[in-house]
Assembly symmetry: C2
Homo-oligomer: 79 residues x 2
């Protein structure tokens, strides 16, 4: 099964990378862009045919390794 | 409108970061995980009420700044 994980900074956590992108877009001539936030996206294949078990395992991976849950949120989609 | 952009490495492009995650997951005791690929996720707000125009603008941003289209694919969702 394929798992798609999106990891984003929590609201209120400063995102200097997002700010840099916002500034660059503005100087490239894209007006009206705001609230740019950069996060991570991870795809992985996981063995087994049970979507619920796979999702639980991936949530566990996020808690233990992939996301820093102090400052980041994550969402998992298994298909 | 909110745009969500996912940027991933093209197939065939080596992903050492994904390999490192795969190794770390395996040593943490998560078996059966393979093909780990890490990409980027960017969220931004864009002014205007026309979803098609917004999507075209965001595609343009990806081509010009956000993605390296030689080695990366991107997908855009506007809502």
């Amino acid at each position: 099964m394929k798992a798609r994980i999106t990891i984003t900074l929590k609201n209120g956590v400063l995102d200097p990378q997002g700010k840099a992108i916002e500034g660059a877009l503005s100087s490239l001539g894209f007006p009206g862009v705001s609230n740019v936030r950069q996060g991570k996206y991870i795809e992985l294949d996981i063995e087994g045919g049970d979507a619920q078990a796979a999702e639980a395992a991936v949530n566990d991976m996020c808690d233990k390794l992939l996301a820093n849950t102090v400052i980041e949120n994550y969402s998992v989609k298994v298909s």
